[in-house]
């Protein structure tokens, strides 16, 4: 390995920069950090062999500049760049700039990243790979009669969408065949008035779906494997708060369909590196592909806990041109893992950001516990970046054991100086939908709204 990548620049900050630095250490690679004006004392800077200053605190003037990142890598004598997640991790300009500078990019080639990031192209690629997408009409509806036929086939409820709409506008849910004719006339007239185009199409409305995603690894030699799934349904405003692997109460047939579909999709688009295919799964077990994330994800650690595979190290081996170190048959998820995102936000005050100095920091540890973070006591949670300060992960031989260890670890964990989501997580351990493994993507917001209404009453 060291013959191929001896030095690697980590184009990120916080816990993921620390995570990548650790993988570098394990593989004998010399890690180089980058930092903005705000991060000169940050943990990732301290842990790297060298750190390069790349600009002001504002991410748009530092961590989001591909040219600054590439210049830093060249200055430090690095041969490769790892983008982490967020920032430039899904921006094809970075792999392109790496290619031009003769640097290895840890991730897919620029054109694959661009194709995967385009919703229309990704949907077409999924269909071509035989992966189910949200079912709907093929193109525009010709008439009300056409709509009735398509809706009957899809099954109610459905969504009537304006062909020219976008960004959530021009969408109308329809509960039954009786409502459809009237809804069609209204939606068409509204679309004509709003967009100058009355064209409509129909999509199946997934009722109370779960968010289930599949981790894949693909090397540059055509080998693709999956590492099982994660359930990330515990969300607030589309931000995941709790994730677990495997997904609880998932029909094994659906699990196989998702995992095999993710591999076919990755193979079909010529994917290289670590990636995640995201799906919605409704109450009837209907699974629909939404998108692929062409990078390592925040919640990759729980997959590492159940599979024993170091995903970041695998990313680095793949980037160095090596074949995958493991075959599908060798990957056997064991037990259950749960992640709790500890964010510097105040759940008691509308999740208001709570930046500031961490005056006391005692991460949990002990059997089955892993804490990944980019902070330490005396460190500062900066107002300029993401609010996540740590990821508390637990593993157990069973889901029940993982939940018990989660309770112990969440109690043990102590953070002072900033308000965090730690107390909320302790409460959520007694939240019935989570205990029962029945959380859907709307559940947490409904629960928080109800709790807030109760507190306000």
């Amino acid at each position: 390995m060291s013959g191929e990548i001896g030095r690697l620049l980590v184009a990120n900050r916080g816990e993921i920069a620390v995570r990548v630095i650790r993988a570098c250490r394990d593989l004998g690679i010399s890690p180089v950090a980058v930092y903005s004006d705000a991060d000169s004392e940050a943990l990732h800077v301290q842990l790297a062999d060298e750190a390069v200053h790349i600009g002001p605190a504002h991410a748009r003037k530092s961590y989001l500049l591909p040219e600054a990142i590439v210049a830093a890598a060249l200055e430090a004598g690095a041969q490769a760049i790892h983008p982490g997640y967020g920032f430039l991790s899904e921006d094809p300009r970075l792999p392109r700039a790496c290619e031009e500078a003769g640097l290895v990019f840890v991730g897919p080639p620029a054109e694959v990243m661009a194709a995967v990031g385009d919703k229309v192209l990704a949907r077409e690629a999924a269909i071509a790979a035989g992966v189910a997408v949200v079912p709907g009409s093929e193109g525009r509806l010709a008439s009300v009669t056409d709509a009735q036929g398509v809706a009957a086939e899809l099954g109610f409820p459905v969504l009537l969408k304006a062909s020219a709409g976008g960004g959530g506008r021009g969408i109308r849910p329809v509960e039954s065949a009786e409502e459809l004719a009237d809804a069609y006339q209204r939606a068409s007239a509204e679309a004509e008035a709003a967009f100058g185009d009355g064209g409509l199409f129909l999509e199946k409305l997934l009722v109370r779906p779960r968010h289930v995603e599949v981790q894949v690894l693909a090397d540059a030699h055509g080998n693709v494997v999956h590492l099982g799934e994660r359930d990330c349904s515990t969300q607030r405003r589309k931000q995941k708060l709790i994730e677990e692997a495997p997904a609880p109460n998932l029909d094994p047939a659906v699990r196989d369909e998702l995992c095999e579909g993710a591999v076919r999709f990755a193979r079909g688009v010529g994917y290289v590196g670590a990636g995640t295919c995201e799906f919605l799964v409704d109450a009837e077990g209907r699974a629909c592909f939404i998108e692929m994330n062409a990078r390592i994800q925040v919640e990759h650690g729980i997959t590492e806990l159940v599979t024993g595979v170091d995903l970041v190290a695998e990313q680095l081996r793949i980037a160095a041109g090596r074949p995958l170190g493991l075959s599908q048959g060798e990957i056997e998820p064991r037990g259950a893992a749960i992640e709790f995102r500890i964010n510097a936000e105040d759940p008691g005050n509308g999740f208001m950001p709570s930046p500031g100095e961490i005056t006391a920091w005692r991460p949990a540890s002990g059997p089955g516990v892993r804490v990944d973070s980019g902070v330490e006591a005396g460190g500062v949670v900066q107002p300029f970046y993401d609010s996540m300060v740590a990821k508390l992960m637990v593993w157990g031989a069973s889901r029940e054991e993982a939940m018990d260890r989660a309770r112990r670890a969440l109690e043990e964990c102590r953070i002072e100086g900033v308000t965090t989501t730690l107390a909320l997580h302790r409460e959520l351990l007694d939240w019935e939908p989570l205990r029962a493994g029945e959380v859907t993507i709307e559940s947490l917001e409904e629960h928080l709204d109800a709790a807030a209404a109760l507190a306000g009453a």
């Binding site: 605190a57 504002h58 510097a344 936000e345 950001p353 930046p355 107002p383 300029f384 970046y385 993401d386 609010s387």
Partner: protein, 83 residues
């Protein structure tokens, strides 16, 4: 002489005078503002929070530029009380 009033940043972050790069500023020097009027934004951890005038007045000056870093309590703008 009319009283001078100040508008301070409530939270740390990055200050903006416009709702988005393509829009005009919320307020200009010389504008008269009423209590509750939004005169800027602070971006903190990817969320945006309004900076509002607490009293009526005429904006004399902005003390920070768009995209400058502000700390809680920093003076963002000075007002002259409308008398």
């Amino acid at each position: 002489m009319s009283d001078e009033l100040v508008i301070r940043a409530p939270i740390p972050g990055v200050f903006y005078r416009r709702p988005d790069p393509g829009s005009p500023p919320f307020a200009e020097e010389g504008d008269r503002v009423e209590p509750g009027a939004v005169i800027g934004l602070v971006e903190v951890m990817k969320q945006f929070h309004d900076i509002v005038a607490e009293a009526a007045g005429v904006i004399v000056s902005f003390e920070v530029e768009s995209e400058d870093v502000v700390s809680p309590g920093d003076v963002v703008a000075r007002l002259e009380a409308a008398g």
